[in-house]
C-alpha cells in the first residue's frame, strides 16, 4: 500500500487543470464516438484516474465514469468510512461506495446512457474481469478507449511537468543521501527511502544492485547485503500521481570519472529521443512513460518487443547500462523526449 503523503495540492493541481484535461478527454471521446468513458484504478494502475480527477487509492480499487455530458462519478470499493479521505483527494462530483464496483458502475451507466450508446474503457484488456463482464452485461457496446485517452493526454500540461520536476528533485536528493563510502546495502536503501518520504514523496521504491561486477540486476533488498566496489541504487519516486526513476552508480575511487562519462553518454543518447530503435551506445536500455493507467509503462527498450509511440515532449524515465573501461555502470533519469526543433534532454541530470 502507499505509505507516503497523499494529498491534493490545489496549488500545484488547481481545479482548472482538471477542467482542461476533462475537456480534452471529452473532445477525444467525441472523435471516437464514445458516450461515456470508464477508467479503472487500483494500487498499481493509478495514472488514468489521477490524471482526470487527482484521486489515488492507497488501497483497494475504484472506477471513474466520465459521461460526454453530466457529472464525473467515482465508484469506490473503499469502505464508506473512508469517504472524508476520498472526498478530500478527488475532483469527482459524485462519490458512490460499493464493494462490487463493476456492478455499481454498470448500474450507473445503464441508468445514464440511452440505447445505442457506446462505453469506452481505458485499457479494456487490463481491467479486472469482474468489471469488464459487468459492463458487457449492460448490453451497451463496450470498446477500448485507450487511444482516445492517450490522444487527450498527449498534449501534456505544465502542471504535469511541474510535478515531475519535483519528483525528480526528490529522487536526486534521496540518492544524494547515500554514504558513498558505506558498505551496508540496507543502510543505503534506508537512507534513500527516508529522504524521499521525508521530502513528501507519495511513494518510494528503492532497488539496489550491490555488486555490479557480479550482477547488474536491480533488486528490492530483503535481508543484509554488502556493497561492492561498484554498486547502484535506483529510486522510483511518486509525487502527486507522477512517477519517475533515477539511478545512481557509485564507483569507489572513481579517479577516471567513469560515472561522469556515463552520464555524458546518456545525455548524448537522450538527444535522439523519441527515436526508438537504439539509445546511443548503451548496452541495454529501457524507456518508460505513463500513457494510460500504468504509472511507468515500458514503451521502448532493448528487451521490449513492441515499441509504443510516445508524444514529442513527453515525460519519460530512462534506464540504461553501459560499460566504460571494463566497469559496468547503470544510469537513469527522467527526461523530456525531443520535439520539433528541440532535442530530448534530462529533466534533471543524475549527477552526484
Amino acid at each position: 500500500m502507499r505509505r507516503g503523503l497523499i494529498e491534493w495540492s490545489k496549488t500545484e493541481l488547481p481545479e482548472s487543470v482538471f477542467d482542461t484535461r476533462i475537456a480534452a478527454m471529452r473532445k477525444a471521446m467525441a472523435a471516437g464516438k464514445i458516450d461515456a468513458l470508464v477508467a479503472y484504478t487500483n494500487f498499481t494502475r493509478t495514472s488514468a484516474v489521477s490524471w482526470l480527477c487527482d484521486f489515488i487509492p492507497y488501497w483497494s480499487e475504484c472506477a471513474l465514469v466520465l459521461p460526454k455530458t453530466g457529472p464525473l462519478t467515482m465508484v469506490s470499493a473503499v469502505s464508506p468510512r473512508g469517504k472524508p479521505w476520498v472526498e478530500g483527494t478527488t475532483y469527482s462530483e459524485i462519490l458512490l461506495f460499493s464493494p462490487k464496483i463493476g456492478d455499481e458502475t454498470a448500474r450507473v451507466l445503464k441508468e445514464a446512457l440511452p440505447a445505442g450508446s457506446t462505453i469506452g474503457v481505458v485499457e479494456l484488456d487490463e481491467v479486472p474481469a469482474a468489471l469488464g463482464l459487468a459492463l458487457k452485461a449492460t448490453g451497451t457496446a463496450v470498446v477500448d478507449a485507450t487511444d482516445a485517452f492517450v490522444a487527450a493526454r498527449a498534449a501534456g500540461d505544465a502542471a504535469g511537468i511541474g510535478l515531475a520536476k519535483t519528483a525528480a528533485g526528490f529522487a536526486h536528493k534521496a540518492l544524494s543521501a547515500i554514504d558513498a563510502n558505506g558498505t551496508d546495502a540496507a543502510a543505503a536503501v534506508a537512507a534513500v527511502d527516508l529522504a524521499a518520504r521525508k521530502l513528501g514523496a507519495e511513494e518510494s521504491y528503492v532497488a539496489v544492485a550491490p555488486d555490479l561486477r557480479a550482477d547488474r540486476r536491480l533488486l528490492r533488498l530483503e535481508g543484509p547485503a554488502k556493497l561492492g566496489d561498484v554498486y547502484a541504487l535506483r529510486a522510483t519516486v511518486a509525487y502527486k500521481g507522477t512517477w519517475v526513476r533515477m539511478i545512481r552508480t557509485v564507483v569507489r575511487n572513481d579517479s577516471r570519472g567513469l560515472v561522469r562519462a556515463a552520464t555524458e553518454q546518456l545525455a548524448a543518447a537522450l538527444a535522439e529521443l523519441p527515436r526508438l530503435d537504439k539509445l546511443g551506445a548503451m548496452e541495454s536500455w529501457l524507456v518508460e512513460t505513463s500513457r494510460a493507467a500504468q504509472p511507468l509503462e515500458a514503451v521502448a527498450g532493448s528487451a521490449v518487443p513492441h515499441t509504443k509511440a510516445f508524444a514529442p515532449g513527453a515525460l519519460v524515465s530512462v534506464q540504461a547500462a553501459t560499460v566504460i573501461d571494463g566497469t559496468p555502470i547503470l544510469i537513469g533519469s527522467p527526461a523530456i523526449a525531443g520535439s520539433a526543433g528541440t532535442a530530448g534532454a534530462f529533466l534533471l541530470a543524475p549527477s552526484f
Binding site: 507516503g4 487500483n42 472524508p84 474481469a129 536503501v189 521490449v304
Partner: protein, 368 residues
C-alpha cells in the same frame, strides 16, 4: 532472502490440491495491492504492474509480468520459473492456454484476472479462488514461523514508531522513520495506516501532513512482511500525558482484546472470536460502536496478504484450525475520546492460541 524450500513446499501442496480437484492448469493473478495468490504460486512478491502465473501440477510455472522493471527482480528472486515480459498479459496468457489444448483451467482470484484473459480464453475458466484461499489460510509450520518472525519485527518497529511520534511531527514524517528503519533491517514490505487527533478521527488512513499535537491519540496498524508473510500490531499512544478519559476508554479495548484471544482455539468459529470481543463493548454500553458504521472487522487473516481471510466478524462461520494466523483487533471509535486501536497477531495451535506480538497492551503516553 526468501527460503526456496518454502516456495517448493507451497507448490507441492498446490499441485496435490489441483490433482484432487481435476484442474490441469491454475492461473494466479496478482498486483502490488493484492499479491498473495500470485506469490503462493510463483514466489514472486510483485510490486509494480500486474502479473499472471500459469502453473501445472508437474511443478512448471510460467510468470507473465507487464512491468519491464520487475523482470530482473523476478528472475533474481525466484527459482525454476519461466519469466516473461508481456505488454498484454491477458491476451498472452490466453494464447499460452490455447497452446496447451483441451485442458481444465481455473483462475484465482477469477474476478481480478485481466478482462482480456476471460474474453480470449479458448475454454471456460473456473473459479479457483476457494482452492487457493484454503491453502493461504491453513499454513504449514514453516509459514507460521515466518508470521511469528514478522510479528517480532512489528514489535520492534512499534518502538521506533513511539520514538518518532513526537509533538510537532507530521504523520508522514513518523511513517517515514518507521519505513526507513524497516529498510535498514532488510524488511522489504509493510502495510501501515495512521491516524491522530481526538473525537474527529473516525478511521485510519495513509499518513497526512497533520502534525501531532498535545493530547492527540495516535493510532496505527503496523504490518511488516518477512519472506512475504505479514504480521500486524495495532496500538494507540497519546502525545503528552494520557487523560483519565483516554485511560478509561482504553481499558475496554484491553478487555475486548483479551476476551477475543481467550476465545481462539481449534474448532471455534471466526464469529465466536468476534462475538467475544463485541460482547465486551455491549457490556459497556458501546454496542453501537461495533457495527459497520464505526468499524470494519474485529480482526482478519494474516499471511501473504495483510488483510486476508478469515475476517473476524460475527457473520463469518469459518472454523478455526491449527496453523491459521490472524490479528485480533477490537479497533473502533469511542465517542468520548476518538478512535482506539489495539490488536495482536496470533496463531491457532493444537490446544489453543499462541500470541506472537509482545508489546504491552497499554496506552502509551509521554509518561510511559
Amino acid at each position: 532472502m526468501k527460503t526456496k524450500t518454502l516456495a517448493a513446499e507451497r507448490r507441492a501442496k498446490l499441485a496435490t490440491k489441483m490433482t484432487a480437484a481435476g484442474i490441469d492448469v491454475l492461473v494466479a493473478y496478482g498486483n502490488g495491492w493484492q499479491g498473495d495468490y500470485l506469490m503462493y504460486v510463483s514466489d514472486f512478491p510483485i510490486l509494480e504492474g500486474h502479473g499472471l502465473a500459469v502453473f501445472t501440477p508437474d511443478g512448471a510455472c510460467r510468470l507473465f509480468l507487464d512491468s519491464a522493471s520487475e523482470i530482473d527482480r523476478a528472475t533474481a528472486e525466484t527459482a525454476g520459473l519461466d519469466v516473461r515480459f508481456s505488454q498484454q498479459i491477458g491476451r498472452d496468457v490466453a494464447a499460452d492456454l490455447k497452446a496447451r489444448g483441451k485442458v481444465r483451467v481455473a483462475a484465482a482470484p477469477l474476478a481480478f484476472v485481466p478482462f482480456a484473459l476471460v474474453e480470449n480464453a479458448h475454454v471456460t475458466i473456473d473459479d479457483g479462488t476457494r482452492l487457493v484461499d484454503d491453502l493461504l489460510m491453513h499454513k504449514s509450520p514453516a509459514e507460521v514461523a515466518c508470521v511469528r518472525k514478522a510479528a517480532q519485527t512489528a514489535d520492534e518497529a512499534y518502538v521506533i514508531f513511539r520514538q518518532a511520534a513526537k509533538k510537532g511531527r507530521a504523520q508522514y514524517e513518523v511513517v517515514a522513520e518507521v519505513e526507513s528503519w524497516l529498510r535498514a533491517h532488510g524488511v522489504a514490505d509493510n502495510f501501515m495506516l495512521i491516524g491522530s487527533g481526538g473525537t474527529d478521527i473516525r478511521s485510519v488512513t495513509p499518513p497526512s501532513n497533520r502534525k501531532l499535537a498535545d493530547g492527540d491519540l495516535v493510532i496505527t496498524e503496523l504490518t511488516p512482511a518477512i519472506e512475504g508473510y505479514f504480521a500486524q500490531i495495532c496500538r494507540t499512544l497519546v502525545v503528552g500525558k494520557a487523560s483519565d478519559a483516554q485511560k478509561t476508554a482504553f481499558a475496554i479495548y484491553v478487555e475486548a482484546l483479551e476476551a477475543g484471544i481467550a476465545a481462539v482455539r481449534p474448532g471455534v468459529l471466526a464469529s465466536d472470536v468476534a462475538r467475544a470481543e463485541n460482547d465486551v463493548f455491549r457490556k459497556h454500553g458501546m454496542g453501537e460502536y461495533v457495527t459497520s458504521a464505526y468499524t470494519r472487522v474485529r480482526g482478519h487473516g494474516l499471511g501473504l496478504f495483510a488483510d486476508s481471510k478469515p475476517h473476524i466478524l460475527e457473520n463469518v462461520d469459518t472454523e478455526l484450525t491449527p496453523g491459521m494466523t490472524f490479528v485480533v483487533h477490537p479497533n473502533t471509535y469511542n465517542p468520548n475520546v476518538g478512535y482506539i486501536m489495539l490488536g495482536d497477531s496470533v496463531t491457532v495451535t493444537e490446544t489453543g492460541c499462541e500470541v506472537f506480538t509482545t508489546t504491552p497492551r497499554v496506552l502509551f503516553d509521554g509518561a510511559a
